[in-house]
C-alpha cells in the first residue's frame, strides 16, 4: 500500500514538472531593498526568467545600457543561462532624480524578448517602486545648502609594498656585499688567505724551470706578506709584522731565512744560487707552514 502511495506521489511530481516546462514563461524579480536610495544610487535587479520548451532568449533584443527616462539610466545588463529553462539576468540602474522631499519613484517595466516557435515575444518585468530620499535635508533653503568637499583620495594599503621594497633592497645589498667580500674589496670582511693563494701559485709553477720557479715563488710570498700586513714588508719591519700578527711568530727564523734568500736572489748581482731546486722546495714548505698558521688565526 505504501509502495502504491509513493508511486502515485512521484507521478504527481513528474506531471507538475512537465506542466512547468510547458507552461507560459514567467519572471521573478529580486532586489536588495526598496528604500533609502538617493540621487546617484545604483539599483541592482536580479531577474530569473523561466522559459518553456523550445523558447529561447533573444539576446540582441535585450535592452541596451542608456537612458530609460529623464531620471533613470540602465547602466549594465548581463545574462547567464542557468539551466535549460532558466535564464538569470542582472540589471543595474542608476538614479538621477533630484528631489527636495522624500518620494516614491517607479522603475518602469523592462521588456525581455524571447523567441518561441519562430515567433518573437516579450515578457515585462513588473513596475518596481522604491523610496527615494533627497541629498539635501528637507526644508533647507537654497542659500543654506553647503556643498560637500571633494572626496578624499582613496587610501591604498601600501604597507606590504613598502616591506617588499625594503626586502628587495636588503637582498640586493647583501648580494653586493657578498660579491665585494668574494673579490676582497671590503677590508676585514671575508677571510682572505694570501698565503694559501701563494701556495697554489707556487704549486702551479712546478713544471717551470727552477730559476723561474724560485723568482715567481719569492714574489708570490712577498705579495702574500704584503696582503697579510696591509703594506709591503721589508726585513727591518719583521718585528712590527710579528707584533701585529703574532700567529706567525713561531716561524721567525724561517721568515729571516726567506728574506735572506730573497735579498740574495733579487738584489745581489752575480750571487751564486746553488741548489735552486732545494730553495724552491724550502720555499714551498715555508709557504705551506705560513698558510697553516694563517688558517689557524
Amino acid at each position: 500500500m505504501a509502495l502504491m502511495r509513493s508511486i502515485a506521489l512521484m507521478l504527481c511530481l513528474a506531471a507538475g514538472a512537465l506542466r512547468a516546462e510547458t507552461a507560459a514563461p514567467h519572471l521573478e524579480l529580486q532586489a536588495s531593498r526598496d528604500f533609502g536610495y538617493t540621487l546617484g544610487s545604483l539599483i541592482e535587479h536580479h531577474l530569473r526568467l523561466w522559459l518553456p520548451d523550445g523558447a529561447e532568449l533573444v539576446t540582441p533584443l535585450l535592452p541596451s545600457p542608456g537612458a530609460v527616462n529623464d531620471w533613470l539610466d540602465l547602466r549594465t545588463l548581463r545574462w547567464e543561462q542557468e539551466s535549460a529553462h532558466v535564464v538569470r539576468i542582472d540589471v543595474t540602474y542608476q538614479v538621477f532624480k533630484g528631489i527636495r522631499d522624500p518620494e516614491t519613484a517607479v522603475i518602469p517595466p523592462l521588456a525581455i524578448a524571447y523567441r518561441v516557435g519562430g515567433t518573437n515575444a516579450e515578457i515585462h518585468t513588473p513596475e518596481w517602486s522604491f523610496g527615494l530620499i533627497p541629498l539635501i535635508p528637507p526644508a533647507t533653503p537654497d542659500d543654506k545648502v553647503m556643498l560637500r568637499g571633494d572626496a578624499h583620495e582613496r587610501q591604498f594599503p601600501a604597507q606590504s609594498a613598502f616591506y617588499r621594497f625594503v626586502a628587495f633592497l636588503s637582498a640586493a645589498a647583501l648580494g653586493v656585499l657578498a660579491l665585494a667580500s668574494r673579490f676582497g674589496l671590503i677590508p676585514g670582511l671575508g677571510r682572505r688567505r694570501p698565503f694559501a693563494d701563494a701556495c697554489r701559485r707556487i704549486a702551479r709553477l712546478r713544471s717551470a724551470s727552477p730559476g723561474v720557479r724560485l723568482d715567481a715563488g719569492l714574489r708570490a710570498v712577498h705579495e702574500a706578506l704584503a696582503k697579510t700586513h696591509g703594506k709591503p714588508v721589508f726585513p727591518a719591519m719583521l718585528d712590527a709584522f710579528f707584533e701585529a700578527r703574532p700567529v706567525f711568530a713561531p716561524l721567525r727564523a724561517e721568515f729571516e731565512a726567506f728574506f735572506d734568500a730573497s735579498q740574495r736572489h733579487f738584489f745581489e748581482p752575480g750571487a751564486e744560487e746553488t741548489d735552486v731546486s732545494v730553495h724552491c722546495q724550502a720555499l714551498e714548505g715555508f709557504c705551506r707552514r705560513c698558510a697553516r698558521l694563517e688558517r689557524s688565526a
Binding site: L218, R219, H222, E223, A226, K231, P232, F234, P235, A236, S262, Q263, F266, F267, E268, P269
Partner: protein, 342 residues
C-alpha cells in the same frame, strides 16, 4: 786604480767614516738618524739643509761635523741686509788709512775651504740664494775677474721653522741643489732629555766639541773616494725597478693607491722629484750600502734616505703648499708603504 785597489781603499775608509759617526754621536744625544744622514751626505758629496725648532742642536751638529771633517771652515749668518758680495769680499779702511779689499768667507781659504755653514739661510735675500746656488752646484764662484774653485767644499745650511717674518723662502732650484733636507727635533726619549738638561757636559758647547778628534777624515781625499763608492756599489734590475717605482710614485701617488685623508691625490702634486733629485737619492743610498759593508744595494738603502733626499723636491699645487709640513710626511710614508719590492 785596479779593482782590488778600490776594494782596499773602500775597506780602509769605511772604519774612518764610522769613526767620524761615532765620534759625533758621543757629543750629540738623540741625533743618530741625522748624524748617519750627514755621514752619507759627506761621502755622496752632497750639501745638506737642516730645519728645526730653535735650540734643538742644529748648529752644534754642524760644528761637530765641520770639526770632524777638518779643513777650512767658514760660517756666515743670514740676515736681511746680507748681499752676495758680503760672501765674496769685504772692504775697509786699513791702518794706513787706505781702502782695502779682503776676500770674504767663501774666498778666504781658497780651494782649501772644506765646510761652509750658512746659518739661518732663509733670512738672506734671494740674491744671496742665487750665489749660494752657484757655489753649491758648481763648487766655484767668479770674483776679481777670475773663477775660484772649491773642490772639497761641502755646504751646510740651516733655517728655523718657527719665525717666518723677514724671511725669504728658498727657491725650488736652490732647494733642489741640497742633497738632503734633514728635520732636527729634540729627542723624544725621557732619559736623553734628562741627560741634556742635567749633565753639565752638554751645556758648554765649545768644550763639548773639543772632544771630537779634529780631522778624523782626510778631507782632501773625500772628493776622490766618492766616485769610487758610486762605481763599486751595484744595483740589480729588481732594485732599479723599485727605485723607479718610488720616483714614479712621487709624480703620480694615486697610481700606487697612496691616499691622504680625503684629498684628491690627482690634484695634489705640481711636480714630483726631479731627475737630479733621484740621482742624488741613489748616490746617498749607495753610500749607505757601502757603510753597511755591501757592494750592492738593497731596498732598505733607498728607503733610509728616501724622505731626506726626496721630500723637499716634491712640490704641491699652491692650494696645498700652505699645508706642506702637514702633508709631505704622510705622502712620503704612503709612498714607502705602498710601493712593493720586489
Amino acid at each position: 786604480m785596479s779593482s782590488s785597489g778600490h776594494d782596499s781603499l773602500l775597506a780602509d775608509w769605511r772604519p774612518r767614516a764610522l769613526a767620524l759617526e761615532s765620534s759625533i754621536k758621543q757629543c750629540l744625544i738623540g741625533m743618530d738618524g741625522p748624524i748617519r744622514h750627514i755621514t752619507l751626505a759627506i761621502f755622496a758629496r752632497g750639501h745638506v739643509m737642516l730645519e728645526g725648532d730653535v735650540g734643538v742642536g742644529k748648529t752644534t751638529l754642524l760644528r761637530a761635523v765641520a770639526r770632524g771633517i777638518g779643513g777650512a771652515y767658514e760660517r756666515i749668518e743670514g740676515t736681511i741686509d746680507l748681499m752676495p758680495n758680503d760672501l765674496v769680499y769685504h772692504t775697509y779702511i786699513n791702518e794706513d788709512g787706505k781702502p782695502q779689499v779682503d776676500p770674504g768667507p767663501i774666498l778666504k781659504h781658497g780651494p782649501e775651504l772644506s765646510v761652509f755653514f750658512f746659518n739661518e739661510v732663509n733670512r738672506a735675500r734671494p740674491q744671496v740664494h742665487s750665489l749660494l746656488l752657484r757655489v753649491m752646484a758648481e763648487r766655484s764662484v767668479t770674483a776679481f775677474n777670475r773663477e775660484h774653485f772649491f773642490p772639497h767644499l761641502q755646504v751646510f745650511a740651516d733655517r728655523n721653522r718657527v719665525e717666518k717674518e723677514e724671511t725669504f723662502e728658498i727657491p725650488s732650484a736652490a732647494r733642489d741643489r741640497f742633497l738632503m733636507e734633514l728635520h732636527i727635533e729634540a729627542p723624544e726619549d725621557q732619559a736623553e732629555r734628562l741627560e741634556l738638561m742635567f749633565n753639565p757636559r752638554f751645556h758648554d758647547v765649545d768644550k763639548l766639541l773639543e772632544s771630537i778628534v779634529p780631522g778624523v777624515l782626510p778631507y782632501r781625499e773625500i772628493a776622490g773616494l766618492a766616485p769610487i763608492i758610486q762605481e763599486s756599489v751595484r744595483a740589480s734590475d729588481a732594485l732599479q725597478q723599485y727605485a723607479l717605482a718610488l720616483w714614479e710614485a712621487t709624480r703620480k701617488p694615486a697610481a700606487y693607491d697612496v691616499a691622504i685623508g680625503n684629498l684628491d691625490m690627482d690634484q695634489l702634486i705640481l711636480a714630483g722629484a726631479s731627475a737630479r733629485g733621484v740621482s742624488m737619492m741613489m748616490r746617498a743610498a749607495r753610500v749607505a750600502a757601502w757603510l753597511d759593508g755591501r757592494d750592492y744595494l738593497v731596498p732598505e738603502d733607498i728607503r733610509g734616505v728616501f724622505r731626506e733626499t726626496t721630500a723637499h723636491r716634491v712640490f704641491f699645487h699652491p692650494v696645498y703648499e700652505l699645508r706642506r709640513s702637514e702633508l709631505i710626511g704622510e705622502l712620503m710614508t704612503g709612498i714607502l708603504n705602498n710601493v712593493p719590492a720586489p
